[in-house]
Symmetry: C4
Subunit: 373 residues, 4 copies
Amino acid sequence: MVENDVRHLINRKLEHVEVTVFGDVSRKTYTMLEDVTLVHQAFPGISLEEVNTKAKFLGFDVNAPIMVTGMTGGTPELGKFNGTIASVVEELGLVMGVGSERIVIENPSSEESFRIVRRNAPTSPLVANVGMPQISRGYGLRELEKIVSVIEANALAVHLNVAQEVFQPEGETDYQEEVLGKLKDLSSQMGIPIILKETGCGLSMETVRKFSSYGFHNFDVSGQGGTSWIAVEKIRGERRGNWKSKSASLFSSWGIPTAASVIETKWADPASFVVGSGGVRNGLDIAKAIALGADIGGFALPVLEASLEGRDAVKQFLSEVEFQVKVAMLMSGSRDVSSLKKAPIVILGSLKDWMESRGITFSTYDKVRKGGY
Amino acid sequence: MVENDVRHLINRKLEHVEVTVFGDVSRKTYTMLEDVTLVHQAFPGISLEEVNTKAKFLGFDVNAPIMVTGMTGGTPELGKFNGTIASVVEELGLVMGVGSERIVIENPSSEESFRIVRRNAPTSPLVANVGMPQISRGYGLRELEKIVSVIEANALAVHLNVAQEVFQPEGETDYQEEVLGKLKDLSSQMGIPIILKETGCGLSMETVRKFSSYGFHNFDVSGQGGTSWIAVEKIRGERRGNWKSKSASLFSSWGIPTAASVIETKWADPASFVVGSGGVRNGLDIAKAIALGADIGGFALPVLEASLEGRDAVKQFLSEVEFQVKVAMLMSGSRDVSSLKKAPIVILGSLKDWMESRGITFSTYDKVRKGGY
Amino acid sequence: MVENDVRHLINRKLEHVEVTVFGDVSRKTYTMLEDVTLVHQAFPGISLEEVNTKAKFLGFDVNAPIMVTGMTGGTPELGKFNGTIASVVEELGLVMGVGSERIVIENPSSEESFRIVRRNAPTSPLVANVGMPQISRGYGLRELEKIVSVIEANALAVHLNVAQEVFQPEGETDYQEEVLGKLKDLSSQMGIPIILKETGCGLSMETVRKFSSYGFHNFDVSGQGGTSWIAVEKIRGERRGNWKSKSASLFSSWGIPTAASVIETKWADPASFVVGSGGVRNGLDIAKAIALGADIGGFALPVLEASLEGRDAVKQFLSEVEFQVKVAMLMSGSRDVSSLKKAPIVILGSLKDWMESRGITFSTYDKVRKGGY
Amino acid sequence: MVENDVRHLINRKLEHVEVTVFGDVSRKTYTMLEDVTLVHQAFPGISLEEVNTKAKFLGFDVNAPIMVTGMTGGTPELGKFNGTIASVVEELGLVMGVGSERIVIENPSSEESFRIVRRNAPTSPLVANVGMPQISRGYGLRELEKIVSVIEANALAVHLNVAQEVFQPEGETDYQEEVLGKLKDLSSQMGIPIILKETGCGLSMETVRKFSSYGFHNFDVSGQGGTSWIAVEKIRGERRGNWKSKSASLFSSWGIPTAASVIETKWADPASFVVGSGGVRNGLDIAKAIALGADIGGFALPVLEASLEGRDAVKQFLSEVEFQVKVAMLMSGSRDVSSLKKAPIVILGSLKDWMESRGITFSTYDKVRKGGY
């Protein structure tokens, strides 16, 4: 890749952070977690101290079902944020992912901005990150091993971002089915789990079934309701006079709301491991996502925002989220995360209608989410 | 308890009244009584004079199904409000409860603020009040008998307030199941009925089933939609810089709306005695709560507010509520409270969806509320 | 009745008109006709000229299914409005009712304000009007024959207004069942049809079943959504410092919305004759009411308002309504009123939920409204 | 036709364009396409380049399922817009219809404003246009052949506009059933397909069944949600003091929303060819209409508006729409238009209730729209 391209990639990453944090790119739509109520239990049968938030992340023990999902890396500035977040994740015993590492392959000097994550979080489960289009376009074992090794990752997230790419002038929309076989082979050779991950538009039951048929069973739904990458591209497009930006605006509410996507994913592959993310902003959202069928909840933007204020802000934010998860567990009568998955819930409004349109009855799904499939 | 702790408890009580009456602690959410319609009967078959509002409260006769639920007591000022309310309750033949009497045990000089209630309401059914955490933490027969005797109570309400305690710096969230057995034993020894009572978040069918299995069958649902104690704690927390106050804000709409809670309670224990409270503000709310399955309706805040204006205001308010109950009974064609329980109702909107999510069909519930279980 | 009482009655009538026209007494709620859609038929198979709006009103032929329902009379001023309206009703071939004629019995000098109606509408079907409480309190054949003869009425409406009376200081809420037997006897003796008529709160299926069991089968639903007589009494009460006015405000949205009331009435007595009124304001509302099961649509307030501007305004208003009925018939593919009763309709929103709560399925009701019972 | 009448017709056409573009005639209501969600497929299995938008229009190949529906023509000015649009339609390989050609019969000098369309679009499928009332009132083979030959049309649209005519002072509302037989005969003689087309109020299942029974199977639904011709007539009426304009206002939300109309049409005649139009404004609307059962999407107003700005604006607008269709196809996992017809969809809100009222279950309709009838 010529120098110009690398500079371009770096600038794009910086602009993504800037637009995400300061631009108006929060969804007009919503996560449909608003349509979910955890039923209050006035007599939980336990005290707050007895609530056990410990969870499993792909076999690793974590103190709470909270994941900082991948968002950044690539330049010294962005590396600093990564480092700050990593040290808090280590202290609190959570999980962390990094932003797309394509830049590591294309510009070795960017490595440090990722390496700092493992250095500051020596024992935490960490998740490397690469885009599906890069694998379509030629990344092989060498590149993926490089990407994984930079953070000594415990898992590799392969992100799908067709909705973002399609509105980029430089967009790559290669999603031919062959790449799934190739990825499966690479995954066997690398020996670490692969997480298939959307980037704000959610996974559908059809997509999950296709992935399952190739032997993939770990998913990060990243549903609609959080950062709209389409809106990010719209703002970038307007700055450059890209004619696609008007269309990007039209599609800014495209996607599957997070709550619906968790349900579709679990419905399609009941034994799968699911990260509930996309517009998740606090511990109550996380608890709802888990009660709906996720194994862990994830977010990136609120942590990135806190990291601009420094380590204390990140620690305070994540501690509050952990407290909120614990409170939601206590008041829904859930002694541990596995009880939370079975906690009584109420589903109203559009999410109820969504399920009906998709042929998912509440009573059948209630068994699925509780593990009775 | 050292003097400092007592002063602390007294100040907390005063602050609770102040924040409740003057702070913005009414729910952003609603009681779902808004989703209930009593069907108008153009030809009631009776005149207003013939409508009989007499009701039973745990075996005692009352002139109308109206209860002033427990809210205050503990200091001379708060005792004055208690006394004013009690004398009107006696005059009108209603039911009254007092606020938490923990302070009676910890500070004997506070007794007078409760004793005045029985003095001013010598023949009314009165309900003593203690928190479940106090029983968890050691209250025995001696303490409960003291609490009951101070107002020569006809029943003892044991309140559950996990949602409030969890956000207090000093919060006690002990809700281990053992306490239910202990409370059952104490109740047999005392020989007066126990009412299990929420404090603004409502009782669920799971919670009611647990209580029933221990032999408790009297409930005060105190559902979501009225005073949010979580919001009260949020305001108190902000004043003190308590880091939990941000989380308290997140949970301020947590809970089971009053109408849903009445239905869940009756569904779980069809033969139970149910006080419909939580955001109840007038006689139409009370009539709806009874038609949904409650035996009596209750409220505290509007009476407390009237008591700040004096005895006349309390009497006028409660007389209007009684008139409103009577009008709602007349126009729904209900000759007496037992007819009101069978009056035709319509359930629309979110309450309809809530029931569906909880597996409660309207037609089956219609039989349950009418006593046909 | 002493002179003072008569003056009182006259003043009340004048104040009713004044408050109704100038006060804010339109419902906060709605008629639920908003939830009804007549399905457009792009190819009606007829021309506008061929649409036949002729209808039957209790055996009488009328040019369109439009009734000016009873609202006023009693003083020379109010008689003038009655006369204006009557002459237009005669010209257009519609139906007209008058306001309560109790004043005719109590003050013979008020007769002229009613007699003018028959004088100006010599061939139109006219409906006399008396309150059910008057019959409870003693009116017999003599009084009813007087009331009927004053306008040589073709039918007698007996109005039910418990919701209004209950908030009047002078209110009469006698609705004991005996009066129905008495009324049935009187009706046999008089030999003209009786219409049982609500006054803004609608008829329920339970009420209609009771009436049917006594042999009454003509109904004017007068549902919720139009003039709220409760709100009228609230304003009158505030002027007089009546303590009931606060409660009147609470009940101002009490009642059965017009669309729901038409359905309940037809459901309870499929062969009955039904006037669809209450918040009906134009010809589209009338067409919807008929498609829902009514035989004719009725309104009072918009005609009264037009009459303040004079005869031309009344004629223009009623001609437009007739045109609107005709347009709605054409575009729903209804050649005549009997086709309109079978025209395809769509029911959305709260009315759909209302029917569900009342155990009325759309498909079964669809047969009932089409006459297939 | 006398000269005055022709001038009148010309002026009416000019005023229609003026009011449509500058007046407030967009619907208060909506298309119900808002209630439809195409389910996002994160891994489409194809790239954007592989998406094939080619479609069939009555046997003709087009590059994308986009039709500029008929709106204008008749004067030199309006002919200029027609010419501009036609040349872009030719370049992009789309379909185009023209406005009502009645004026061609009545004023031969208007021909040129239509002829320019075929001249500028020599190879595109073009659709001639005549009103059903003209055929009722006497147009025979000679007139229709003239209308078709002026643009060497590939199909003839016969438009139904009873809702517009009924509010015109000069309105013609002849829709007697005989005309359908006559039209069928004419169509056999002419040998080109007939499209029956609404003009903003939508086709119902009853209407479509009637047409099918006469052997017509090509429909342009033109549902409610776009330009309200009733609102156009209301504005024209007010300018002229036409008393019908108040009634026009009342009916301005009359009609079948576009999404509901596509479903009703396909439900009534599953093998029919359907143009989804009415409030369609972009490529996402078109993709939804096709997923609901249409074969092609159509619009007129946004193209007319662009044509006021010139050829570049028209080309840019239509290119963007084509891109949007392609993006919606990619992200719903639809390789071609026939896959798009089977793409997973979610139906929420009023459209769901509409279907229920009309006896159409989602699961049965899902088979119909996918061709499994």
